[in-house]
């Protein structure tokens, strides 16, 4: 977890999901907590990469 990040719980996840337009039950959200915790831990690994001057590896071809 990054500094300043709130602890993940079904209530917080409900608010995030609701903002994206999802209406998931308490049971569904509880099941998602460990999944999302692991996802965030995985994504945190990218923080260690030297990406400051790196542009995304995707293109937008105009022709």
């Amino acid at each position: 977890m990054l500094p300043g990040m709130a602890e993940l719980n079904p209530g917080l996840m409900r608010r995030i999901a609701a903002l994206a337009g999802y209406d998931w039950t308490e049971e569904e959200l509880r099941a998602l907590v460990p999944v999302v915790e692991r996802s965030l831990a995985l994504l945190e690994r990218l923080e260690s990469l030297p990406l400051r001057d790196v542009e995304p590896g995707i293109l937008f071809p105009m022709a």
Binding site: I16, Y22, V35, S39, L43, R45, L46, V54, I58, P61
Partner: protein, 505 residues
């Protein structure tokens, strides 16, 4: 007739062109084998019996007319069920798209038909290509033909493509690969599969998993047949703006059998060293075989490999959710459970995290490019494990227990992120009779060298000619394999334990 189903694509095309075999005979032989074996194997979602026979009769008439014939004339091919076809439903292995009938063919389907290919049917897959095992709750999970007794995964997401080609139900098929989905089933089913360079083959009319990582490509029993299939598929397509205008090579013409002096980099850290013992031994033997053919081998490494998992997850989770957002809101109950869970997880990946994955991807691509300045190709195992049992969530490699999903994509996703071409070829079997695959990675748009090395290896070895123990007469069938490969003993299934986030399809 049985003999026809084991002919190569090249041989079938030659037999048809020389009027030794009718396309109707070829298609009928494959349909009969599908009828006999597919109730168990579940490789097909839709068998296009009538349209295939109609196309075969038309192909026969053209042969008899004496007209010039295209290169795949009269040869049956099957498609992973995410390629749009104007004459059959395209379901993506889902309930949501059951019965969906596209108005036109995907570009590559049109090109293969124009090259003389006859579409035999639509193949099973992990639902919406969102999983590396090949599981499907709606149409049944395809059965790996290398274990006739117990239900093992074929690998995914192009599971039906792997099974159909391996079991002689079709001589060639198309798959798609977002994190390994051509190469994983090719490896687990003992066939050859090519993920071309990103931009080499059009994705137009192919249902997406993650647009920026999706690759479409051929699967066949040999690299030579992959080359034959790739030829008409490759090239720019105005319908897919990500396709490149780089000239298309003569792939079959590149298969000289000669690799003397070719510089081979063996990816040991992160890749070879993380594979099970028997798989490591198979790859090391394959490298010795390449040396005997004149290749010069040295060690290679990719320092960003450990970040590929996170980058791949960020990109696929975000892009997949973007595609599925409306269905996930309106019809969540129509997804199979594992796919629904993965899609939901995408809602908690931020835009910044997605772009961090795309920025990491730039580093990964640049490093592979730099490494391939020193080497012509890189070698790695395709997977660290062989086919596991359906429902098995974890597997032990040496002394470490890992989840099956993460293990399957560990060595493959790196090259979806980098976009480089990779061919997986069989390079051995465990004592239980389960196939082992090897990746051959090349420079961007240099599929010709990748296929040349793969073909030279296959001319010198016979792993790709072995047939699985399904459909053989009982007396000729080999001894049934043991329940698990000794090199990678299986841990008890723990399906309730969520795996490390792995979404690659």
């Amino acid at each position: 007739m049985d003999d026809l189903v084991w002919k190569s694509l090249a041989e079938l095309a030659r037999l048809v062109a020389s009027k030794q075999v009718s396309p109707v005979e070829v298609v009928t032989a494959h349909l009969e084998r599908i009828d006999a074996l597919d109730p168990k194997l579940r490789a097909f979602i839709t068998v296009m019996r009538e349209s295939a026979l109609e196309a075969a009769r038309a192909a026969e008439a053209r042969v008899l007319s004496g007209e010039p014939l295209p290169p795949l004339h009269g040869v049956p091919i099957a498609l992973k069920d995410l390629y749009n076809t104007k004459d059959a439903p395209t379901t993506a292995g889902s309930k949501i798209l059951a019965g969906s009938k596209p108005a036109e063919d995907a570009t590559v389907v049109s090109r293969l038909r124009a090259a003389g290919g006859i579409i035999l049917g639509k193949l099973n897959m992990h639902e919406f290509a969102y999983g590396p095992e090949g599981l499907n709750a709606h149409y049944g999970t395809a059965w790996n033909p290398w274990d006739a007794r117990s239900h093992r995964i074929a690998g995914g997401s192009s599971s039906g493509s792997g099974v159909a080609v391996a079991a002689g139900l079709c001589p060639g098929a198309l798959g798609s690969d977002t994190g390994g989905s051509i190469r994983i089933p090719a490896s687990l089913c003992g066939i050859s599969g090519l993920k071309p360079t990103y931009g080499r083959v059009s994705r137009a009319g192919v249902l997406p998993l993650a647009w920026s990582l999706d690759h479409v490509g051929p699967m066949a029993r040999s690299a030579a047949d992959c080359a034959l299939l790739l030829q008409p598929m490759a090239g720019h397509d105005a319908k897919d703006p990500t396709t490149a205008t780089v000239p298309v090579a003569d792939y079959a013409g590149a298969l000289s059998g000669e690799i003397n002096g070719v510089r081979v980099g063996l990816l040991r850290p992160f890749f070879l060293e993380a594979a099970g013992l028997v798989l490591r031994q198979a790859i090391e033997q394959a490298v010795r075989d390449l040396v005997k053919l004149g290749a010069r081998v040295d060690e290679a490494s990719l320092s960003h490999a450990e970040h590929a998992h996170a980058a791949s997850f960020a990109v696929i989770a975000s892009e997949a959710l973007a595609y599925h957002e409306v269905w996930l809101k309106r019809r969540p109950g129509d997804y199979q459970a594992d796919v629904r869970e993965r899609l939901k997880g995408g809602a908690f990946v931020s835009g910044a995290q997605y772009l961090r994955g795309q920025r990491a991807r730039r580093l990964i691509r640049d490093e592979v490019d730099r490494t391939l300045e020193r080497f012509d190709v890189l070698i790695a195992p395709t997977t660290p494990i062989v086919a596991t049992s359906v429902g098995q969530a974890e597997v032990t490699i040496e002394h470490e227990t890992v989840d099956v999903r993460s293990a399957l994509t560990r060595f493959t996703r790196h090259f979806n992120l980098s976009g480089h071409p990779v061919c997986s070829v069989p390079c051995g079997f465990t004592t239980a009779g389960l196939p082992i695959g090897m990746q051959i990675v090349g420079r961007a748009f240099d599929e010709a060298t990748v296929l040349r090395v793969a073909d030279a290896y296959q001319r010198a070895t016979d792993w790709h000619t072995r047939r699985p123990p399904v459909g053989a007469p009982p007396a000729a069938a080999p001894a049934p394999p043991a329940p698990a490969a000794p090199a990678v003993p299986a841990a008890p299934a723990t399906p309730a334990t969520p795996a490390t986030p792995t979404n690659a399809g």
